[in-house]
């Protein structure tokens, strides 16, 4: 059964075939994948999903690859949903959960979208996969291209964190380090589209790529016993992921997968050093998202010109969420808080999410019994330098290898 019908413009409704294009030729609006919902309604069920693999591909029916397409997978998804009692106790939340997506094969959420994108691209004859990246995406694209045996070009800002460059380069892609910030890298890649026969994951095949994001919310709801949480805290970069989480909730209701037809409040998290969506949300005109020049340690979400920013604010207002932002110090403090209370080491983007969670909790946003979920989207080793450079070892002592020295320096 062919379940994919084409692409449709989110703004003007113009329809296109299933091709590598992401912008409506009529109005320059974004394109979304159209599924044969009537056909899917006949087959999609909780039981069918639960019998699927322990990866995000258990939701294959709701992803843009046909049944006969071999997928490129490293076992991504179905990451732990951890009940965070110790962090919750500090924040006054008795039902706090963390979706730990740093447990993906390349240690970030990006494996979900890239697995879909590379599967789609390979099935449609592309021989080279490319991306503009702040690091995590390039890491995933390099790994999945290696897995698929495809040529790979990744475009990264020249000052990307060293750890990220190492973990990208090991997969032997062509690394193009661009002297500019992410938005300038993205601009260059947009210009390359016309002259290269490449599948740029987050540009020309974005309608397919983006769909992989939905699985994060599908899994969260399944792991909560097919119940919808009251609120989800989501980091905002381009806003692409955020939009898909709203779509995921819509599909969970549409296909009768959830026990309650509620829509959770969707709340966005940004670093103050790159907060175009937050700035607009706080202004009188939340639909006017003006670009900013990024200046933050949370580089993996430092997109100054977020493509889906306006849609994020629409969804936030529709669902009763908020957009909040945190300082650089708050990001680092949140990374430490999460590690100290739950044993989870997240990167700076996760620090933004947990920082916003903590800020909202301390400001009294919740009474205490609400089910709140925070998406932890990347591993701390990706940005370990930010901790090494600031008082990272407050409880460290140095001793001689003798009992005397131990007793002198350590208080038990």
């Amino acid at each position: 059964m062919a379940k994919l019908l084409g692409l449709r413009c989110r703004e003007c409704g113009a329809e296109y075939g299933l091709q590598a294009t992401h912008v409506c030729e009529m109005c320059f609006g974004p394109l979304d994948v159209i599924y044969d919902q009537a056909a899917l309604k006949k087959i999609v069920s909780r039981q069918r999903i639960e019998q699927g693999p322990a990866s995000m591909w258990r939701y294959r029916d709701l992803l843009p690859v046909e049944d006969d397409t071999p997928v490129v997978t490293l076992g991504e998804g179905f990451t732990p949903l951890v009940k965070a009692d110790r962090l919750g106790a500090e924040l006054g939340l008795r039902n706090l959960y963390l979706k730990n997506d740093s447990m993906n094969p390349t240690n970030s959420f990006k494996d979900r979208v890239v697995s879909v994108a590379v599967s789609w691209a390979r099935a449609h004859g592309f021989e080279t996969i490319a991306c503009a990246s702040t690091g995590n995406l390039a890491n995933a694209v390099a790994a999945y291209s290696a897995r698929a045996g495809l040529e790979c070009f990744v475009f990264i800002p020249v000052d990307l964190e060293r750890q990220k460059v190492v973990s990208i380069s090991v997969f032997d892609p062509n690394v193009v380090a661009v002297r500019g910030n992410y938005d300038e890298v993205n601009r260059l890649c947009s210009q390359l589209l016309e002259s290269t026969p490449w599948a740029f994951c987050n540009i020309n095949i974005r309608p397919f790529y983006a769909e992989g994001s939905k699985t994060l919310t599908f899994e969260t709801v399944e792991q909560l016993g097919w119940r919808v949480p009251d609120e989800i805290i989501i980091p905002i970069a381009s806003g692409c992921q955020f939009v898909r989480h709203r779509q995921a909730i819509r599909e969970l209701i549409e296909y009768g997968l959830v026990r309650d037809d509620r829509v959770p409040a969707l709340t966005g998290a940004q670093a103050l050093g790159c907060a175009p969506v937050y700035n607009a949300f706080k202004s009188d005109t939340p639909e006017r998202v003006l670009p900013v020049k990024p200046d933050t340690i949370a580089r993996s979400i430092a997109i100054g010109n977020p493509s889906d920013g306006i849609y994020v604010n629409r969804i936030v207002l529709e669902t009763g969420g908020v957009v909040e932002a945190v300082t650089e110090d708050e990001i680092v403090a949140a990374m430490r808080l999460l590690a100290r209370t739950e044993g989870i080491f997240t990167e700076t983007a996760g620090g933004v999410t947990i920082g916003v969670l903590a800020k909202l909790a301390r400001a009294g946003r919740w009474k205490g019994d609400e089910v709140v979920v925070a998406y932890v989207t990347g591993h701390g080793l990706k940005t370990a330098d930010v901790l090494a450079s600031v008082d990272g070892h407050a409880r460290r002592v140095e001793i001689d290898p003798t009992l005397k020295s131990f007793r002198e320096k350590v208080t038990i």
Partner: protein
């Protein structure tokens, strides 16, 4: 010939300036407005521009020199 989809963002100082007219007049470029939202103090325009790659680069430099923010129009609405 190359084609670029651009997003032009205007602040209060530029809203009254005919920069798209000047873009077509000063450079060998064809401009085509696809969508726009301009108020008295700010605005955005989604613009298709066609011409030789070097001329496109010069046109974008001109817009930026006049204080217009120029970004790729990547399937979004600009607030």
């Amino acid at each position: 010939m190359a084609r670029r989809r651009l997003k032009l963002i205007f602040g209060p100082a530029m809203v009254k300036e005919p920069v798209i007219y000047q873009l077509g007049k000063q450079f060998d470029l064809v401009t085509n407005i696809r969508r726009a939202d301009v108020t008295k103090d700010q605005g955005w325009v989604l613009l298709e521009v066609t011409g030789e790659p070097d001329e496109l680069d010069r046109g974008v430099e001109y817009l930026e020199s006049r204080g217009v923010k120029v970004e790729p129009a990547e399937g979004d609405l600009v607030g």
